[in-house]
């Protein structure tokens, strides 16, 4: 170890990997992973989220799973929680949609209205 910069580099690299153990304020991506969700393809969706977040080094965003929300016909369902607790529910998710949500919603804070449960319900009427 010859310099502070070297130490800092190790620190930043590792902190990104383990920040979830102490981080309390980041956004949360919650993927519905009950039987209905998994059958509809939730796993590739979740993988797409983790890959996309890793690519962009967004280590303060956590990805977790949850059970069935009850609207199985709209699975895979993903909910994004902001730090303040507000949430947006996205339905009929795919890996492509996941990438778009990361760049538009998580990075730039613009909700993808057309992918939300509200849009899907309006469409079916």
């Amino acid at each position: 170890m010859k310099s502070l910069a070297e130490l800092e580099a190790i620190r930043n690299k590792t902190l990104d990997q383990i920040k979830m153990r102490t981080n309390k304020s980041g956004k949360r991506v919650v993927v519905g992973m009950a039987t209905c969700g998994i059958a509809a393809g939730a796993r590739p969706v979740m993988n797409a989220f983790t890959e996309e977040l890793a690519k962009r080094k967004l280590s303060d965003v956590s990805v977790t799973m949850t059970g069935c929300i009850g609207v199985c016909r709209l699975e895979p369902i993903v909910e994004i929680f902001d730090a303040d607790g507000t949430k947006v529910t996205y339905v009929k998710m795919t890996a492509e949609k996941a990438a778009r949500i990361v760049s538009e919603h998580i990075v730039n804070g613009r909700v993808c209205q057309d992918l939300t449960i509200g849009a899907a319900e309006a469409e079916s009427k």
Binding site: M1, K2, I10, R11, Q17, M20, T22, K24, E51, T66
Partner: protein
């Protein structure tokens, strides 16, 4: 970059290891592999979480869900429910199992809510065998700052300003100790770490070494820079194999990174650390005995002065601090001496780790701001006393300390108040006692310990404590006389005044302290030949109440010395001559027909 969506931390401290955490980790890895989750979920062995009574402990992030008393059979459910479906396994969660906050349960457990973790900051969060994780949480940053931005005098000034005092027992100001060592003339100086934790029931130093070994290395290096030393020794008990192993790994990793060795951070500062294993003699926790033991000689104390800061290891100026003291050092530099000094009381700054044991629900390690009351520790953090029993006293400071009676439960705990109460902070063992503990017996227990551990070099300790123990055995054996109590006091005062080292000088404390607060119990033993708590076997007996006895014979079956007789038609009776007073019959009687006659 590897991205894991979840981290599962399993405690690898001594407590959880002995309750099978390695097997749980193995099963978890197998289950993750089977469910193809091994690339998504990271498994980490970490240090002590502190809630040892509830071990083995597992914490799952990002939720921070803490699972307690996990068994190998539970792992499958945790994987299938929590890690696959995202549903918490509520029956295994710590704390109030009904009212669980679905997101972050770790912070919501009463046991953790009131703690302030400085010395234990990384325990249960990082993998102690991975230097990168230590660095991620600001590890070695304080060393870098000290070496590149501060002069040795500025380092010492910062430690002095923080108000940090020695956590090994006596509470000597750490900054002053550093200054004395720096000012001592000598071509070679040494920095030593006292990891010879020996008080019965105390294990905070072990937990720091097991959970965060790099914090000790970093602090010793900062100390080395401050006092002008290039060689450190950690004196650790050989009975702490996990701590020794993790220290060895930490030293190896620090050397690979150039964080130990020559020209650290490109400066002219060199530092090396070696381990010295102690064979487990209690007296080696005393500083002069510890130094003698490092030299390879029999661990016997020497008179002070000269103090180690002047003439210590191999006659050279030596700085010796305790593990927990060192663990505070990096934080003082990262967060500032003012921040540190803002925690605690006027004369005692920062936090103290206590190993809480005895009659308490949450046995384990707690770190609290100095000045917290005993009531908060026992009832708010410790979860109170089991079976609704009444709190009687708390013993602090181990064999050198004393008891704090229930009447002082609201006293803020710091170095001074404990001393006024006739006890001491000590290394931080805190044994809680309820109405079923006999205080004379407690005093006898601690004295028996010091008699065993006395090195025998000076007569007051070698002979005096032995005589005191004989008197106490006479009293608990029902053969005491009133003048024995006075003899105890005279002997105690003489030993304190004349013993060579801290062990002898403090050995009578448990007796004096119990005499001070519980003299009536001594008198009851001597005059009435009664043990009010029903502990001393010579003064109590187990009796079967004939009118309650249902003649089932369960007591007779469980008696290890077959001294209970009776049959279907005659109530059972205990033969008091043969009875060894083990209490097995009372425990097994389904009708509560057997009671203690004190």
């Amino acid at each position: 970059m590897e991205f894991f969506r979840a981290h599962v931390l399993i405690c690898g401290g001594t407590g959880c290891t002995s309750s099978n955490s390695p097997a749980i980790k193995k099963e978890l890895e197998a289950q993750l592999y089977k469910n193809k989750l091994d690339k998504e979920v990271k498994v980490v062995t970490t240090g002590c979480f502190g809630l040892c009574a509830e071990g083995p402990i597992m914490v799952v992030y990002p939720e921070g869900a803490m699972y307690t008393m996990v068994r190998v059979e539970d792992v499958k459910e945790i994987v299938e429910e929590h890690l696959i479906k995202g549903r918490l396994v509520k029956r295994l969660l710590a704390g109030d199992k009904e009212a669980v906050d679905s997101s972050r349960s770790l912070e919501n457990v009463d046991f953790f809510k009131r703690q302030v973790r400085i010395a234990l900051r990384n325990c249960g969060i990082i993998n102690p065998e991975n230097i990168d994780e230590y660095i991620a949480y600001d590890g070695y940053k304080a060393l870098a700052k000290a070496l590149t931005e501060l002069t040795p005098d500025q380092v010492i000034a910062e430690v002095k300003k923080s108000g940090l005092r020695g956590r090994g027992g006596a509470g000597f100001p750490t900054g002053l100790k550093w200054e004395f060592t720096k000012k001592s003339a000598g071509d070679q100086k040494y920095v030593c770490c006292n990891a010879d934790e020996g008080d019965p029931g105390a294990f905070m130093d072990r937990s720091v070494l097991e959970g965060d070994p790099h914090s000790i290395l970093e602090a010793m290096e900062i100390a080395g820079y401050a006092v002008g030393s290039d060689q450190g020794y950690i004196y650790v008990r050989a009975e702490y194999p996990i701590a020794v192993k993790r220290l060895e790994i930490a030293i190896k990793q620090a050397k690979e990174y150039g964080l130990l060795g020559k020209n650290i951070f490109g400066t002219s500062f060199n530092f090396d650390i070696e381990l010295r294993l102690g064979a487990g003699a209690f007296v080696c926790g005393e500083e002069t005995a510890l130094i003698t033991s490092i030299e390879g000689k029999r661990g016997e104390p020497k008179p002070k002065p000269p103090f180690p800061a002047v003439r210590g290891l191999w006659q050279k100026p030596t700085l010796l601090n305790n593990v927990e003291t060192y663990a505070n050092i990096p934080v003082i530099f990262n967060k500032g001496a003012d921040w540190f000094a803002s925690i605690g009381t006027e004369k005692s700054k920062g936090t103290k780790v206590f190993a809480v044991g005895g009659k308490i629900n949450n046995t384990g390690l707690v770190e609290i701001p100095i000045g917290t009351t005993l009531r908060e520790i026992i009832y708010d953090i410790g979860g109170g006393i089991p079976n609704g029993k009444k709190f009687k006293a708390a013993q602090t400071g181990g064999p050198s300390g004393g008891c704090i009676p229930a009447s002082h439960i609201d006293t803020p705990i710091d170095y001074e108040t404990l001393k006024e109460l006739g006890s001491m902070m000590g290394s931080g063992g805190l044994i809680v006692m309820d109405e079923d503990n006999c205080m004379v017996d407690i005093a006898r227990f601690f004295l028996e310990f010091t008699v065993d551990e006395s090195c025998g070099k000076c007569p007051p300790c070698r002979i005096g404590t032995k005589r005191m123990l004989e008197i106490l055995e006479r009293i608990t054996g029902g053969k005491g006389e009133m003048e024995d109590i006075d003899k105890l006091e005279v002997l105690a005062k003489n030993i304190i005044a004349s013993a060579l080292c801290g062990l002898g000088q403090s050995a009578p404390q448990p007796v004096l302290s119990t005499l001070r607060y519980f003299r009536d119990e001594y008198i009851a033993h001597v005059r009435d030949k009664k043990c009010p708590a029903g502990v001393c076997k010579s003064m109590m007996s187990y009796v079967i109440a004939a009118d309650h006895c249902k003649k089932c014979g369960i007591c007779a079956k469980n008696c290890p010395v077959s001294c209970i007789s009776g049959d279907k038609n005659t109530p059972y009776v205990i033969d008091q001559e043969k009875c060894i007073k083990c209490g097995a019959c009372m425990e097994k009687c389904p009708f509560k027909a057997i009671f203690k006659n004190a």
